[in-house]
């Protein structure tokens, strides 16, 4: 909502200056977003003096003038005015200026071969008078000293732009803002002066509101003004309209707009002669069409509130008028409408048709239903004054009564909510200032809510009014207590934060990508999930919720590869979605690594990142998070976007309850489809929701400390075993031989090739054996060795290599 302090002062008697007003507005909840001096197209017109005139070489009636515009060199202007002569003081418009009369923008141009820099203006061109016979003549005694200065006094009036919150419909008019300021002690609200109108005749056009379900029009007031001469608005009115950044159109239209901005009372003006035998307010029927004042054709749905006559639709009530019945400069008889439309109906219709107008914006938020007569009165007064004519009596059709709210307010509630006290006298003063009627009933205040405040419904609304006007700065700070009853994070949240930092500590950069992604990329990672479309995506490549973090991660990894980075490790921890219902999401930590390890190191030989790098990332992170490495169980069933031979999934135990992670090389087909150029790409996904929380806290995770000082022995074994036999199982068999004695099993070599049958591989293991009770003798060790060998051979078909 834009206002000027000048206009505000039509309603407010105040001693505050502009800056104080701006501060006060913000203090009472009418947030000033900007306060700028309005630039005007008139700023560029200068007082100038013709110093020399010459005949135009190519045209008899034109002159070439040297014009002094207050700078060092005079400028050349071609001019056709007969009164252009040496020594004349006149008004100069430079290139770039817009001529007010015809809105023509000046450019440097050649006129019959002579370049003209700007123009000397007539009074008519500047809308100063109708004098168009020559250029403006300024009196030398008055303007001699002003050469080069602005002809039009520069306005230093600020246009104050206020952000009006949706509850404050009443402040969409300047009077409402003045009322708030006056309630806050910043001045006195002036009375509206109205002149007495002579209203002899009845309003002759028949108005009918059809009684039907969902009728959006509650009250329709009207007034017929006959015999008007529509014209340009007088300057005071034009200035007001322009000061808010609007365009003056004609007196009748400008008056209705003025009253809307001034009193927040939208009006509509019809050319009464274009109304076909009376007005009928009814619900639209599906398929009806009409052409609105924005020159668009609208096709209507059922139950939209339309103003019609016997030939069809005249307008959408409270939203926009139609072209058929609009006023024009030759309009003789005008019907002014002041109505009340239900906010709900306005909102529904404008949403469906996607129309936003000043009237719609106001009706949707709630207009004062009692402002109808005032609106008609002001409009009739002004139109009669400017355009003449006979004013009819007002016709008010009531379809529905709009009641004022009353509220019983307990003043004690104020302190309970705000933490400080104000006395009842102050409360009454504030509320009266805002237009409430206050009656004391014992300890309770009985309030009648003003008709323009449909937002006030209950006691808490009253408290807001009181504290807002009294001042938020009066609220006393209560320092927070430093105590805690509940743990800040639950176990799941702790795991989230732990894994986040654990993964980052392995050299990954944490990213945050959109929760939505490109459906084309998402398809590559969707597996058995269903696609979740966004009905109104921000762009076509962000049109689905992501089923996997990989889609976005791979897109952004690719962008980094394009930037010339090769060895990139990115991860994200966040939601993936499996359905469009709340809760159909899970938290996943997902990482990608590309390129090489130790690229260009003088020390280490570089190598491609591989599946065992990401396996380490996953396993180490899980171990750091408190899960026992020995219990983790791996198999090789993975989604199709992983390399089928170089990927795995992780379970917390051999029970294979829930997959807690996938890791592996990204399938080469994916790289091909997305056109990624990298030497190697591996990744992992950890599913946080599937990780069963260790119930133990850190302090009881630590079991009793037990260690053995007895000598430990190490033995190496090499088994020749089926190529497809998984090492995980072999190790388990060895541990199972004697869990007390076998402390550790490590794989130190895998060999395939010469001396080994083609379908076999050789696995070399180191086993640490130690007793907690005694030093093992050679024969004990030999016996264990034998058991290890026989168990392995028996259970796996392997052969010990000798």
């Amino acid at each position: 909502m834009k206002i000027t302090t000048n206009w505000l002062k039509d309603h407010l008697d105040t001693k505050l200056n502009e800056n104080q007003i701006i501060d006060k507005l913000t203090d009472i909840g009418l947030e000033v977003e900007s306060a700028d001096i309005q630039s005007s197209e008139l700023d560029s017109f200068l007082v100038a003096k013709i110093v020399k005139t010459e005949k135009h070489p190519g045209a008899d009636r034109l002159k070439v003038c040297d014009v002094d515009i207050g700078i060092k060199n005079s400028v050349k202007v071609v001019c056709g005015a007969p009164n252009a002569r040496e020594g004349l003081l006149t008004i100069y418009a430079p290139p770039g200026a817009t001529i007010p009369k015809n809105q023509m923008k000046l450019v440097v141009s050649k006129i019959r071969g002579v370049t003209s820099y700007g123009m000397l203006c007539s009074e008519s061109e500047l809308n100063l008078s109708n004098e168009s016979d020559g250029i403006t003549e300024l009196l030398s005694e008055k303007y001699d000293a002003k050469i080069g200065k602005n002809y039009f006094p520069k306005s230093n009036l600020k246009v104050i732009d206020i952000s009006i919150t949706p509850n404050r419909a009443d402040c969409l008019g300047i009077r409402g803002i003045a009322r708030d300021l006056s309630a806050a002690g910043s001045g006195k609200l002036k009375n509206i002066k109205s002149e007495k109108l002579t209203q002899k005749n009845k309003q002759k056009i028949n108005i009918k509101i059809i009684k039907e379900k969902n009728q959006g029009c509650a009250i329709f007031g009207s007034c017929l003004i006959t015999g008007v001469k529509n014209t340009e608005s007088p300057n005071w009115l034009k200035e007001k309209i322009i000061s808010l950044g609007q365009k003056p159109i004609s007196a009748i239209v400008d008056v209705t707009n003025y009253i809307m901005f001034d009193l927040n009372r939208p009006l509509h003006a019809y050319d009464a002669d274009k109304i076909d035998r009376g007005i009928i307010v009814r619900n639209s029927k599906k398929g009806e069409t009409f052409k609105a004042l924005d020159n668009k054709n609208y096709k209507l749905d059922n139950d939209m509130c339309v103003i019609t006559d016997n030939s069809g639709i005249l307008g959408l009530g409270g939203i926009i008028g139609g072209t058929r019945s609009g006023t024009e400069l030759d309009t003789k008889n005008v019907l002014i409408e002041a109505a009340y439309f239900s906010p709900k109906s306005i909102r529904k219709t404008s949403k469906v048709l996607n129309i936003d107008t000043d009237a719609k914006f106001r009706f949707e938020r709630g207009i004062d239903p009692l402002s109808i007569e005032l609106g008609l009165q002001r409009a009739a007064e002004l139109i009669k004054k400017i355009c003449g004519g006979e004013v009819s009596k007002f016709d008010i059709q009531n379809f529905e009564k709009i009641k004022n709210n009353s509220i019983k307010f307990d003043p004690l509630l104020f302190e309970k909510i705000t933490g400080f006290k104000i006395d009842q006298k102050e409360m009454t003063k504030i509320l009266n200032g805002l237009g409430f009627e206050v009656k004391k009933e014992k300890k309770i205040m009985a309030l009648k809510v003003p008709s323009w405040r449909s937002d006030i419904e209950q006691e808490i609304d009253i408290i807001e009014e009181l504290v807002r006007i009294h001042g938020y700065n009066k609220i006393q700070i209560v320092e927070p207590e430093k105590s805690r009853d509940k743990p800040t994070l639950n176990n799941k949240q702790k795991l989230f934060h732990f894994l986040q930092r654990s993964i980052a500590s392995k050299g990954f950069l944490e990213t945050i990508t959109w929760s939505f992604t490109d459906s084309k990329i998402n398809q590559l990672f969707i597996e058995n999930n269903k696609e979740i479309k966004i009905v109104n995506p921000i762009s076509s490549d962000l049109n689905v919720l992501r089923n996997s973090i990989f889609s976005n991660l791979i897109i952004y990894l690719n962008k980094n590869l394009d930037r010339g980075f090769k060895d990139v490790s990115l991860f994200e921890i966040g939601p993936t979605f499996s359905g469009s219902q709340p809760g159909q999401q899970e938290t996943v930590a997902s990482g990608l690594r590309s390129g090489k390890i130790s690229r260009l190191s003088w020390l280490e030989k570089d190598r491609l990142v591989d599946v065992f790098d990401v396996k380490k990332d996953v396993i180490q992170s899980l171990v750091e998070a408190g899960f026992s490495q020995n219990k983790l169980y791996i198999d090789d069933k993975t989604p199709s976007y992983y390399h089928p031979g170089k990927s795995g999934r992780v379970f917390l135990s051999k029970d294979k309850e829930k997959v807690i992670a996938f890791f592996g090389e990204i399938h080469p087909n994916i790289l091909k489809k997305i056109d990624i150029k990298t030497e190697s790409l591996v990744g992992f996904e950890i599913f946080l929701d599937n990780i069963k929380q260790t119930k133990k806290s850190l302090n009881n995770q630590k079991t009793q400390y037990q260690y053995s000082d007895f000598q430990k022995s190490e033995r190496d074994f090499a088994f020749v075993i089926d190529k497809n036999f998984q090492v995980q199982e072999l190790i388990e068999i060895i541990y199972d031989v004697d869990k007390n004695l076998i402390k550790r099993v490590r794989v130190f070599d895998i060999y395939e090739g010469a001396n080994i049958p083609e379908d076999k591989k050789s696995i070399a293991l180191n086993v640490v054996i130690q007793s907690s009770k005694k030093t093992l003798k050679d024969e004990d060790l030999d016996r264990i060795n034998q058991v290890i060998i026989s168990k392995v051979e028996e259970k796996t078909g392997a052969k010990i290599r000798s």
């Binding site: 919150t165 800040t488 930092r501 500590s505 945050i512 929760s515 109104n536 219902q581 020390l603």
Partner: protein
């Protein structure tokens, strides 16, 4: 007698020469080996007359000790010298690069969420979460924003169905609803998380982060709200004094509502929080609207309290001097390295929020 003296003099002389380890060992053998000169003298001991034996033994022992000491110190010297020579040869250019390592980074938004959680933890808030996909009821209706309410226009909403019943939450406020429906008062929670609006330009991203705060108890009033936010802002920006302004505003789910501005100035092109005459809006808050409490079956005659919503990305930008919101989500390797935090920099109360 003279034999002992002779041996002593002869070998003292020899040991003064510049000898290597082998030569010293040879001398050692010559003297103390099985048939060494000194060993041979000891064998004579039995044959010497008893009255002279004591003196002879004493002289012999003293010579033996003297020579042995010299030899062992000689050996020691040589060994040290040899080690030093060997080490000298092993010298490397220690300015060559170390074994390669990579430093991971935590995203500034995550870091700021941890900072916020740490601050609110100190004054007794716990962390709650809610789903990113919400129903229309939790996101709007329960929050006193019915379908026909113009406040809905302020939220450009992403919808997942044509009936507009499923949506991406436009704020973290639905977590208030979920929390209050799930448990019984009192409530003292914060809820950081992703939020979505279909808005995209230099200062808006279709996804951003908010932290919701909710404190409902028996006598929680606007003074507590002001105190809580004042404490938070001071702690977050790590300044002793903060200029803070509570300004009346309107949100359907709180009443009275306020927007909070903090004072700032621009110094050397950088924003300085807490000083200066300019105001910057950083959050919205208010007393939870009785309609909201009724919707979640909280007894409004017994309980009341406040709620607030803060833009996390914006806080991160202010605190760490980040200009462009869009860059948060661009995953540029260079940006992540520049603005990211070392994973070991865990914000906490005892070691401070940031270094």
């Amino acid at each position: 007698m003279s034999d002992i003296k002779k041996i002593k003099d002869e070998f003292l002389l020899k040991l003064k020469e510049n000898l290597n380890l082998n030569q010293v060992n040879q001398i050692k053998t010559d003297l103390f080996g099985k048939n060494g000169l000194v060993s041979s003298q000891f064998k004579k001991l039995g044959a010497i007359a008893e009255d002279e034996r004591k003196k002879f033994a004493s002289d012999l022992n003293s010579v033996k000790d003297e020579l042995q000491n010299i030899i062992s110190s000689k050996v020691n010297d040589i060994e040290i010298k040899e080690i030093n020579e060997k080490l000298e040869k092993e010298k490397v250019d220690i300015t060559l690069p170390e074994r390669p390592f990579v430093q991971g980074k935590i995203h500034p938004v995550s870091q700021v969420i941890d900072e916020i959680s740490s601050i609110f933890s100190e004054i007794g808030f716990s962390v709650e979460e809610g789903p990113d996909v919400e129903n229309e009821y939790n996101n709007f209706t329960a929050l006193n924003t019915p379908d026909n309410h113009p406040a809905r226009d302020m939220h450009d909403t992403f919808y997942l169905d044509d009936k507009k019943e499923l949506l991406l939450r436009t704020h973290t406020s639905p977590v208030q609803i979920r929390t209050m429906l799930k448990d019984k008062p009192p409530f003292k929670i914060i809820a950081p998380g992703r939020t979505y609006r279909s808005d995209s330009d230099q200062t808006h991203a279709p996804m951003f982060h908010q932290v919701e705060g909710l404190h409902i108890d028996k006598d929680i009033n606007m003074g507590h709200l002001k105190g809580c936010l004042n404490y938070f802002i001071k702690e977050f920006f790590e300044v002793d004094k903060i200029k803070m302004r509570f300004r009346p505003s309107h949100f359907p789910f709180t009443e009275p509502s306020a927007e909070v501005d903090i004072g700032y100035k621009i110094k050397d092109g950088k924003i300085v929080i807490g000083e200066g005459n300019k105001w910057l809006e950083i959050l919205g808050c208010g007393m939870v609207h009785p309609n909201v409490l009724k919707n979640v079956k909280v007894d409004t005659t017994k309980y009341q309290g406040y709620a607030f919503g803060i833009g996390i990305d914006r806080l991160a930008m202010l605190k760490y001097g980040i200009n462009d919101l869009r860059a948060f989500f661009d995953c540029d390797y260079r940006w992540l390295n520049h603005f990211g935090f070392d994973p070991l920099d865990v914000p906490s109360n005892y070691r401070g929020l940031s270094r």
